[in-house]
Amino acid sequence: MTTAVSSSSSLSSRAKTWWTILRISLEERFVYRGDFALGTLMRFLPIITQVFLWGAIFAASGNNAIQGYTANAVVAYYMLTMISRAFSSMPGLCSGIALQVRDGEIKKYLIQPIDLLGFLLITRVAHKLCYYAIAIIPFTLVFYLCRGFFENGWPEATVLVAYGLALTMGFLLGFFIEASLGLVSFWFLEVTSLVFVYNLLNFFLSGHMFPLDLLPEWANQMVRLLPFQYLAYFPAAVFLGRIEQDELWFGLGVEACWLLAFVVLSRVMLNRGIHRYSGFGG
């Protein structure tokens, strides 16, 4: 990340700053432990509908497999996208930024020697760590109970490494896309409808709802040109071994490019936005 504290401060003191922010936001998250536990549990309810839905679809089609997906594989896919989403979704990030711009809390980052994006990223890492710390229990349980849907068992080590990379970049990509959206609030105070459109696109184009390779070829080609697939489809497809070796590293490379693009975009938007804010608003 870019410098959050003065450039003169050493790397170790910067690391210490990040660590403090992380620790404090962890503490803050644990204040709401009840909300967490409930939110985590509710996440698993859709699995049941998915099992029934795809059972019905396959029964109606009379085929054992659609585009290489068996009914079991689709459920496995769906469960894996839940993990992708646990990394890439950023509840409250965009609206949080908009709120800070609107009620002027953003001033804090102008007055104190601290970088807004870096700060938000660290607090988001803390949110996620908190979430995983609690969610790992039900996730493990559900995956254990549903292990039958994974017909191919565990993937090989290189695929697992690629999977880890895809998830990590998925987290960062999700963060920087939503941060960029939130920063639009420097120009338009209200971004709710923008978030709505984004969530809608995300829902369909990320592969959250169905595997993207079920789409007709032309649609599939188009969706592949967008960054959304990395938020849900791509990591899941990697895990399921649906992506060939050489395509795998290429895919990760493209994901890294998208990530870089959104890092730069959000940075430019922040600088311009602050400039505009300090020129007109306050």
Binding site: T17, K107, L110, Q112, P113, F280, G281, G282
Partner: protein, 353 residues
């Protein structure tokens, strides 16, 4: 001539505000074509503040006080003019500058709402790179002075407004800023909390010799703390000097209260009007506003003619004098805009797509 610690030269700030007319039709029209009004919040302020001064900004709402503080803390940048604080241009927002000042806004919260203030302080320690020993020492000192020790581990949301304000002050002072901007630090506080904060600020400023600019609507804050007062109204400085000087310079009235031994009748009141106007009258007392130079002659005449039990000669209350100054400013600007001299707020209405 050496530069003052804070120096403002012809500082100006104009905001552009979207003008929406009433009604749905106007709203739809506003989607395509918007009218903006230029609001000149600050219209050319020149000011020098030396190291160690405690200066109060007084002025009616919307006078430009807060805008000036925002300019000086680098949150916004000016439309014209220049300013330096400790040699830095604030709106460049260099980290070196940001480590040397603090801004406390009475109506804004900087602490983490759900966590004890202690945690926010730790974060400040890291953000400002404060050495652990210095940090602990400063925190101990501040929490003792403000009586916060027992409250440090309580979530901020559970604190009273007064306690929270003290925490905000502590957070702002942890990195020992050399310049402190306070925007209505006692707003909404009860008398005791207000007094506590005044006492603290006074002590701290005298001890550390830091430079403080304060805006407040409470004259008590100002009277207790600041030797120097800057009255801002209509985006310009109307007065800059000592607090007592305001009265000398802006009014030539004294208040004379007379307590009569005999009942007051209409005739008496009528004859009193020769000396000045009657501010208040409730038997057996009459309060008169009298031109300063006339006071001795008036007293001689009255003591000669009537039986007086008690007599008080005093300055008019500060609030009144300042309100007079504010009122005079808005009157002049109103007259000038009627005459087409265009100094009022809404002079330039521009259109933009």
């Amino acid at each position: 001539m050496p530069m003052a610690l804070i120096e403002l030269n012809n500082l100006q700030k104009t905001y552009r505000v979207y003008q929406k007319k009433e009604g749905l039709r106007a709203s739809i029209k506003g989607l395509f074509k918007r009218k903006y009004k230029e609001v000149q919040a600050v219209r050319g302020i020149d000011l020098q503040v030396e190291q160690g001064e405690f200066v109060a900004f007084l002025g009616p709402n919307g006078a430009g006080k807060t805008t000036t503080l925002k300019l000086l803390s680098g949150v916004i940048h000016p439309t014209a003019g220049s300013a330096t604080v400790m040699g830095h241009i604030p709106w460049r927002r260099e980290n070196d500058y940001r480590r040397r000042f603090a801004l406390v806004m009475g109506q804004k919260n900087q602490l983490w709402w759900d966590l004890p203030a202690q945690e926010s302080f730790r974060l400040h320690q890291q953000i400002y790179g404060i050495e652990p020993d210095t940090f602990q020492h400063t925190l101990d000192e501040l929490s003792d002075l403000l009586g916060l020790r027992e409250l440090l581990s309580q979530p901020v949301r559970e604190l009273s407004l007064g306690e929270r304000m003290k925490m905000e002050l502590t957070a702002a002072l942890l990195h020992s800023p050399e310049v402190l901007f306070l925007d209505e630090p006692t707003i909404g506080l009860d008398v005791v909390a207000q007094h506590n904060i005044q006492q603290f600020l006074k002590y701290y400023q005298e001890k550390r010799k830091i430079t403080i600019l304060l805006t407040s609507h409470y004259m008590k804050d100002v009277a207790a703390l600041c030797k120097r007062v800057v009255i801002i109204a209509d985006g310009q400085i109307q007065y800059d000097g000592s607090l007592s000087g305001i009265i000398d310079e802006t009014t030539n009235r004294k208040l004379v209260t007379l307590q009569f031994a005999d009942p007051i009748d209409k005739m008496l009141l009528g004859s009193l009007k020769r000396f000045g106007h009657i501010v208040h009258h409730e038997a057996p007392r009459v309060k008169l506003g009298v031109t300063r130079d006339d006071v001795p002659a008036m007293l001689t005449a009255i003591l000669d003619a009537y039986d007086i039990d008690d007599l008080i000669v005093e300055e008019p209350p500060l609030e009144e004098v300042i309100a007079d100054v504010f009122a005079r400013v808005s009157e002049t600007s109103a007259t000038q805009s009627e005459l087409g001299l265009s100094r009022s707020n809404d002079t330039q209405v521009g259109e933009a797509e």
